[in-house]
Symmetry: C2
Subunit: 290 residues, 2 copies
């Protein structure tokens, strides 16, 4: 990666200080972009920074491994944390401010108000990770209040999350745009994820079946197959071919409501969640009729 | 009431328009005050407007009978609505902008994100009106986003509501102050409430036992009684004296946590909810040790 930006970002851990920095930028008429992360940065995150830099005057990023979105037995404790590498990556990507709050700052004693997320949070991830979207929506709402940006950039990799957050933003009248940015993939197709580093070399090869399945579904769809059961079967065959058996879901559903549809007549999304060994991966692709 | 203000407030029903009006005021360096109401205005509401005018440069008020905070069988349908009287009262009180949204605007089809309120919402009103605080917290959060004021004024009459909203504001990092203003009472002691108009003349007399009970508890407390059970008994005796039997709760609890305390050592609040005929009334008073 070439160094595009020579000055390091300002790193702030106080909510008041970062709020004031956002407001100061706004008062100067700057358009403020926001990229929320849990660190362990990869090119997917940095593409969000690039999107922000293209459309905004100043880019704020956050690094916070949010405990409330991890369920019991999930990987909160082992989630990769390397602040200095992440700060270097953000500096090279041209982030202006990085907010690195502590857990106690965001969840002080007595904290007990949560977002009860919209119905679109119920299936898929919501079914397999019961408190996940409540935790996600709560931390995102908090960070939107601490960093009142004009626009916030999220990756399509977490497709359902984007839909949940857009619905929350609409329902709560949040004065912020939510922009969904394309999935960034490795050359061989694997969607970038902080959790890819958990994979053994063999699992890494198996994991390619997710993106391969989605590509085959896309090809089928472009060749005229609109029956969602057939498209799902196509993906499941790819997973079965490499003995991926711990499948949380494979679905082709309405892209807005995430509801089942028999045929793809409006934009749909193909969604996969599966476990390769002990690593849970998700991936998706949007199918748009002409 | 003397007319202190000759120009009528600007009445807006579009969230975008009122948001822009608040932001325009903020950009001019004005301190913005907010008074949220369900209309059916009385002197309690107007005291909130007066408080806003004392500390702010511009005062926005809202009128919206929020369906999500009424339970099944409660008085949503019969809740008093008289927009033109309310606008006159706000004009006389010196409100600058009134926001009068429609139900469909605030709760469009597909609306499904709610606030899961803090634990302090569980007892008292939360127990007797199960979805009430979720509805209150949700509409207040929405209105804070639509009208991003510096400070919002709420009446102590709804004491638990103030505590719930302050906790939500802290937990969600909302950039707004919540100021609790004193209870306004009729000359004979009855706390002002839009629901007082439901009372028959006989019930109106009975209802005085609530404020009388609180006054007697205050007098006891000032005379040295700090045992909370004794203070509660004092209030219950006043209610029993006038045959008020439908009592939802009488309690003397910690003023911040609303948890039971055996003796008043820190600020406490005496809370009452009771039904007089079919009308449910609440009242409270704060007991502060020297």
């Amino acid at each position: 990666m070439t160094k595009q930006h020579l000055t390091s970002p300002v790193v702030l851990s106080s909510p008041t200080e970062v709020y004031n920095a956002v407001q100061a930028a706004r008062r100067q008429g700057q358009r403020v972009g926001l990229v929320l992360t849990m660190g362990a940065l990869h090119k997917g995150h940095l593409s969000l920074v690039a999107a922000s830099r293209r459309s905004c005057d100043v880019t704020f990023a956050t690094i916070f491994v949010n405990p409330t979105q991890f369920g019991p037995g999930e990987d909160f404790e082992k989630y990769p944390r390397n602040l200095s590498e992440d700060l270097t990556a953000f500096a090279e990507a041209g982030v202006d401010f990085v907010f690195t709050p502590s857990r106690d700052e965001l969840y002080p004693e007595g904290f007990s108000t949560f977002v009860d997320p919209p119905t679109v949070a119920l299936p898929f991830e919501g079914q397999h990770r019961p408190q996940h979207f409540s935790g996600v929506a709560t931390i995102v709402l908090k960070l939107f209040n601490i960093l009142p940006a004009h626009v916030s950039f999220f990756g399509q990799k977490d497709y359902q999350q984007c839909i949940v957050l857009r619905r929350m933003a609409k329902d709560f009248n949040l004065p912020i745009e939510i922009e969904m940015c394309p999935i960034i993939r490795e050359e061989d197709g694997l969607a970038m994820s902080s959790r890819n580093r958990y994979l053994s070399p063999l699992e890494r090869t198996q994991a390619l079946a997710l993106s391969r399945g989605l590509r085959e579904a896309e090809n089928s769809f472009r060749s005229g197959e609109t029956n969602t059961l057939k498209l799902v079967e196509r993906i499941r065959t790819c997973l079965a071919d490499v003995q991926i058996e711990q499948i949380d879901y494979v679905a082709v559903v309405d892209a807005q409501t995430l509801e089942n549809v028999p045929v793809v007549e409006r934009p749909a999304v193909a969604l996969i969640a599966a476990r390769i060994g002990t690593t849970r991966l998700i991936d998706n692709t949007i199918l748009r009729p002409h």
